[in-house]
Symmetry: C3
Subunit: 434 residues, 3 copies
């Protein structure tokens, strides 16, 4: 038996866990948005998993891992990512599958920030372009050995910068251009739209948390990596610490423990340890997580203060904490040590890298949004938004309310029996769009 066989099942299982995270994104978003848009956010995740995945497989992979052209872009492997020569004990198909999971996750970060008011066709275009162009190009800079940020010495183990900060920066510019949901900001104050389904959102977080073990530990791509179990433990401790600080902060500051913040706090801990999980101690993971759980609260308030509407907090969780995690690795890296020249050099590389990625993500996101705007139109119409995107784009509500109530149904049957008006007619009268 060879190491390659062990690595094969390790990376395939980790990839399956990463792809399962899409379920987490979908349920988290469906729970946090208003009911009338819960189907739409779910369908957008299906766009990521279908069209987005094929777009990355056919095109994006080549830009990311193809033969390097000057440190800026890869230019080979289009349509045949499996022909990559990895030079490690891992079949190329396992590597491709794992990278597919990462690309799809990056798109899904954006999906949350633009929830509840984007034209569905615009989303299809945006998702495809993120997977084909935006994500793989900056990914090439860091994760291809010849990329200019890799050459500079930037470290990002599992993607705080490459995936989360990039996705968060693109989410910010696209949400900005898209504009806020109707009625979100009135007379300078924020109108809170309450999450529609907290248990559903929590289901999503549990799936994301589970998948993140594959996301981070799977990034070893090598089961014999001596740090593998430490990575997994750091992932857990970062998440636990992130949830702890956001829980205690909201409990003592507001008198209520805010579920959305606790969930986003745990996710923020996960995002923030993702860059450094292979390079830092357990105590560092806890410290990073604790800070991340507070960052998400203030970032959420800040983003609302500039009136960029992010219904699920994607920019605060992935953008802000992706940036924080990338820089925190420069502070806590065990190899570089504290107050050494090595640390200074690493920190410079981290800062240059994260600035480059955020600028690229923000600018590229804006360009993609503009492209969607001038082709199919970026935004749902005011009527579609009022009605809810579920009925407008999918012709079906998330929860079929009339069937939900046996007494209502019974009443409908009784009404039919006594008046002759059919149930269908009554339903249409009560809820014209069903």
């Amino acid at each position: 038996m060879e190491l390659i066989h062990l690595n094969t099942i390790w990376v395939v299982l980790a990839a399956a866990m990463v792809l399962f995270m899409e379920g987490g994104f979908a349920l988290l978003e469906a729970g946090l948005v208003r009911t009338k848009n819960a189907v739409n956010v779910t369908m957008k995740i299906f766009v990521d998993l279908t069209i987005g995945a094929l777009a990355f497989w056919a095109i994006g992979f080549g830009f990311m891992f193809g033969d390097d052209a000057g440190g800026w872009i890869g230019l080979s492997l289009f349509g045949s990512p499996e022909s990559i020569d990895l030079g490690m004990d891992l079949p190329s198909a396992a590597f491709v599958l794992f990278q597919l999971g990462f690309a799809v996750a990056c798109i899904s970060i954006v999906s949350g920030a633009v929830a509840e008011r984007m034209n569905f066709k615009a989303y299809v275009i945006i998702a495809a372009l993120i997977a084909m162009v935006l994500y793989p190009i900056s990914g090439h800079w860091v994760w291809n050995g010849d990329g200019w940020l890799a050459q500079l010495g930037m470290k990002d183990f599992a993607g705080s910068a490459v995936i989360h900060a990039l996705g968060g920066a693109a989410a910010l510019s696209i949400a900005w251009i898209l504009g806020p949901r109707k009625g979100r900001y009135r007379d300078g104050s924020v109108n809170v739209f309450a999450p529609s389904n907290i248990p559903l959102a929590a289901s999503g977080v549990f799936i994301l948390w589970f998948g993140w073990f594959g996301f981070n530990a799977g990034s070893t791509l090598n089961a014999a990596d001596g740090m593998l179990s430490s990575i997994a433990l750091n992932t857990m401790l970062g998440a636990a610490a992130g949830g702890t600080s956001s829980m205690l902060y909201t409990m003592f500051r507001y008198g209520k423990t805010d579920p959305s913040m606790v969930m986003n706090g745990a996710l923020s801990g996960l995002v923030a340890v993702t860059a450094g999980c292979a390079f830092i101690s357990q105590w560092s993971a806890i410290v990073i997580g604790l800070i991340a759980g507070l960052i998400v609260i203030f970032a959420t308030i800040f983003i609302d203060s500039i009136q960029v509407d992010d219904p699920v907090g994607a920019v605060a969780v992935h953008g802000f904490n992706g940036v924080f995690g990338t820089i925190a690795l420069g502070l806590f890296d065990m190899e570089a040590g504290l107050f050494t020249t090595g640390q200074t050099e690493l920190l410079i590389a981290q800062v240059v890298g994260i600035v480059a990625i955020v600028v690229w993500g923000f600018g590229g996101g804006a360009a993609i949004a503009y492209l969607a705007k001038v082709t199919v139109g970026l935004r749902a119409s005011a009527e579609e938004e009022d009605e809810g995107l579920d009925m407008a784009y999918h012709g079906i509500p998330a929860y079929n309310e009339l069937d939900r109530f046996s007494e209502t149904t019974k009443a409908l049957y009784d009404f039919e029996a006594s008046t002759g008006v059919s149930i269908q007619e009554t339903k249409e009268f009560l809820n014209p769009k069903v």
Copy 2:
């Protein structure tokens, strides 16, 4: 360290993922049926996982993998499947667990097609007989080396034919005999019963998708199988392609992207690549998936046109695409090649095999349905169907609507305080069966 140790954890983990798919079936069905039957479909999946699993373990396994008697049936190992001599680097208990997952999945395919109107006791009998007799006998033909279809050269890597087409064919005949739900077909037109909970259904799809990596890649039963990661990647690409074509078709044909079709499209891609995932290229997996995502749409329309009522589309997804996937393997098999004698021979074996399995599944399903009909009665009474099977068979609604509404609850308390009528009485008045 030996290969057997690696294979042990590989197959145990894959089996756990396959068994987790039962959660996927349950949530998918609970989301697609009407609210008043959501508990019942969930309980039917528990029948599969409990009585069905024990029935297969004790009896079915022996028919499937016992010593061959003439190529048609196995006849040993009853009550002690672990005593099988596998002749491979895998403990027999891991093999038994994995096969248990497959058998339970096959039953669950049928469960969806008969939703919302079957007598619960009839379902228990049907589930046990599928697990004990129907599935294992035709499974023996293909997956036992001495089986007559295996001897003929039929290939079915992970069960497009053995599990999905068989389950789909049995689902078709049982649903046919059972008859449609009340009010489903009126004056020759189809009365659409809207799915009750789309996010719940989507949760089910995400779990199924995740579990399918265990289903297909786990079918190697060998972590050193050189195709393992290619199988996993093909699984992903088939699913992505299936979802893509059904999404784009419904988007452009109907103007609305239909969530049920997108979900069933992705599942159809999974079903269709299941036979060939170990033998075909990545591009072939995409082509197969794209076709599968269209087949499911037309198959759904066709099945409704013959007035067989399949509330979740199980026949279209598993039956039609199980058949398609089995034949597609004959077209895309890399070993046989295109336009060769080998391909012709393989195609003949595939066609003979799938015809045999569909005939067996359809006829055997009918026989089992008849047996249930003459013993406990196949169909719920009209009153039970009106009321919903949740109250009729389980005494509880899926969602306890009165507790859901704090204002309602508050009103009940106020009403009690002011009139003296107890909350219990008011609840019973409003919803007599709670």
Copy 3:
């Protein structure tokens, strides 16, 4: 490649599955309680996963696995569990992560029994103390080689006693001291509060079932353990048998197949085989499961008869079946055999062990509850309980009912348009706490 690399990924994956079980606990509880407390039970699971996990990591681990002091307690490794010297082919971080999952699961058992009426801050204290002190000390007795129960020869492979019986005993005493929910027992009869969301509860069971394969088979901590796949198979058969007996019993005794009992029956089978899964035959696992599925029914009735209110049946599932599973191992252990001196000795060790653990759990639980009572107060106020803990502690309902209904929302807009009363005002009028 070394065994340690295989063990690393095995234990990391198993630990991820165990930690994913927290999602199962959360959804199961959220589905079984009344809607007005669904957020609160979910947030309590987040307490377990965040504060509870950090408390065990920093302190509890040292009490459990630190250097033994007289067989009763460990006293080292505080703040640095990874410095443990395992003396096996496994990195310490993987072991720590796996044990973290166990500790968090133990807390979560208690969370269900105290649902719907506990002060949230009291729960935080209780969760931290279970993870820091209660669970690790008795865990030390059994799972540290020098512990007094280990020395006595007590066997508990994956924690029927150490985790489940302990958690169940603590749940019993804490729930007792906490008192029943308002209106639960009136005039000597039990007032049934119907579960709010059965599909959600079922989702939880599927996740728990999936995670349990990691829980039990992962307890080998060694992929080369010859019993590994037999353990996984026994886990499945125990669960299937538990669900079977509770399903058939409620079907024939009450005429209705009770979903809560079927789900708790399957979980009871899992709990009961957890101690013995590595030491018993497949048939024994089935027998144990069948008995466990009946025990849970009678235990539930018994606990209600002494008016201890356990909203989700945690004491019946984990407490009673934890005790049963621990003793059953003494009866079915293959090594000891039947009617041998070895069996007698083992049975005595099992009985002594389980009595010690139950007494410790019950007494320790009471002490912890008392501590919470005199500091922050154990119980929610009557007003908070009436209103629901979701609004009281988290300021948000589980399901945002007004947004759920497009016709209601539409009516609100119409009302605003015609009267000038804002939607916000109307909402507040209808549901003052939103």
